[in-house]
């Protein structure tokens, strides 16, 4: 019974708790990182006028995108930044699962894990 009361206290606590602060900070990290990479790629493309690939071509597979980014091809860098941006919400779900785990909120550990698995499987359905 005392455990239940404790849980209720946690839920009704005012202001952002640990879950919120941590999830917010991880999102900020993902956003700043991906925005910087995209911006670098965009500036490189606009100043050089070239995407680094023949004609209008740009890579669409993860391996080719990151290979292009590593060899500093502007389109490769932009797309790598966009992939990081796409991964940010997925990472957010994974991190929430870990934070709920730390708080021993098993129901939500389960829910976040299910969402995370569905998301990751989405990346493979596309193949």
């Amino acid at each position: 019974m005392s455990e239940l009361n404790n849980k209720e206290k946690q839920n009704s606590r005012k202001g952002p708790n640990e879950v919120e602060i941590f999830v917010s900070q991880s999102l900020r990290f993902g956003v700043l990182l991906s925005a910087s990479v995209i911006l670098i790629g965009l500036v490189l493309f606009l100043t050089s006028g070239e995407g680094g690939y023949p004609g209008e071509y740009y890579p669409t597979q993860l391996k080719e995108i990151f290979a292009g980014a590593l060899s500093l091809k502007p389109f490769g860098i932009i797309l790598a930044g966009l992939v990081l941006l796409i991964c940010t919400p997925i990472m957010r779900v994974g991190i929430s699962a870990l934070v709920f785990l730390k708080e021993k909120d098993w129901l939500y550990v389960g829910i976040s894990t299910v969402v995370f698995l569905i998301l990751v499987s989405g990346f493979f359905f596309g193949k």
């Binding site: 839920n11 009704s12 005012k14 202001g15 952002p16 879950v19 919120e20 602060i21 999830v23 917010s24 999102l27 900020r28 993902g30 956003v31 991906s34 925005a35 995209i38 911006l39 790629g41 965009l42 493309f45 606009l46 006028g49 995407g51 740009y58 669409t60 597979q61 502007p74 389109f75 932009i78 797309l79 930044g81 966009l82 992939v83 941006l85 796409i86 991964c87 940010t88 919400p89 997925i90 957010r92 779900v93 929430s96 129901l107 939500y108 829910i111 976040s112 299910v114 969402v115 569905i118 998301l119 499987s121 989405g122 990346f123 493979f124 359905f125 596309g126 193949k127």
Partner: protein, 279 residues
């Protein structure tokens, strides 16, 4: 090229501001702007609008979560419905004609716009019962409303209805790459009776995940063009950061007045699309 990129950036900033205030992805601005103003083909415009959805979500959520407006539990729980829906939508996109779906969901949106009209005088939902499933999932919550300058506690109703609409929202976003935010806000506002700010912020929070669920598929298809998507991503991220600050200081009544015409526009657009009429 640089001038075009800057123009796309500016349009995207406004899309980010509006999208983050209303809990929509900004696709309703980005897609028509890219196709009509910049002559981008619809395939790449949808790819960019998906990037816009994810950018609005992550950009706005930084502030909304930190300030406790977002209900993370509601978001997480409903994401099960939206992600499964999004994958369903992306998978059936090439298989079936989505016309009937457009009409059905268009009518549903129009209905909810009308339902919202009745709530224009109401600042916060009143006397909402706590659904027994909501209680088990600990979905009820509270937030500090900067416009009302007070702490607002709220209950959550009709979890099943909300969950069902969220699945539909996921299917639509997987099919279209846009239009899912309006369904999410509707599910939480009209069905689950959450405060509008919480609905908007939580919709924002979830949108990124729904978007990401189908983004891989669009990426592999080559729909996400680096030239178009780069200024969209950066512009929308800037806009969403600004919008998340503005929204908290607006009254819910004001947000609702902005929301209803947008909802009606999206509803009519979807029905027109389903009937094959060009608006």
């Amino acid at each position: 090229m640089t001038i075009v990129a800057i123009k796309i950036l500016l349009v995207s900033i406004s899309a980010g501001i509006l999208g983050s205030i209303l809990g929509l992805g900004g696709g309703i601005i980005v897609t028509p702007a890219l196709t009509l103003l910049f002559g981008v083909d619809i395939q790449h415009a949808i790819g960019a609008s998906l990037i816009s959805v994810i950018s609005t979500s992550s950009g706005a959520a930084i502030a909304y979560i930190r300030d406790g407006i977002t209900n993370i539990r509601v978001g997480m729980f409903l994401e099960i419905a939206t992600t499964v829906g999004a994958i369903t939508g992306a998978l059936i996109a090439g298989l079936i004609s989505p016309n009937l779906l457009y009409i059905i969901f268009g009518v549903l949106l129009l209905y909810s716009a009308l339902a919202m009209l009745k709530k224009t005088k109401e600042e916060l939902p009143e006397e909402v019962p706590l659904h027994n499933v909501a209680s088990k999932l600990k979905l009820q919550g509270e937030y500090y409303d900067k416009a009302l300058k007070k702490q607002v506690s709220y209950n959550v109703d009709n979890v099943y209805g909300g969950f069902g609409v969220m699945y539909g929202a996921g299917v639509i976003s997987g099919l279209l790459g846009i239009g899912s935010g309006s369904f999410k806000v509707m599910a939480m506002d009209v069905f689950m009776k959450l405060p509008l700010k919480v609905s908007s912020a939580t919709s924002n929070f979830m949108m990124g995940v729904t978007g990401a669920a189908s983004a891989g598929i669009y990426l592999y298809r080559g729909d996400i063009s680096p030239i178009i998507s780069a200024p969209v991503a950066i512009g929308v991220l800037i806009g969403a950061t600004i919008g998340a600050k503005i929204m908290q200081r607006l009254k819910s009544k004001t947000i609702r007045k902005l929301f209803i015409p947008v909802l009606m526009y999206v509803a009519l657009q979807m029905m027109a699309q389903g009937l094959g009429v060009k608006l």
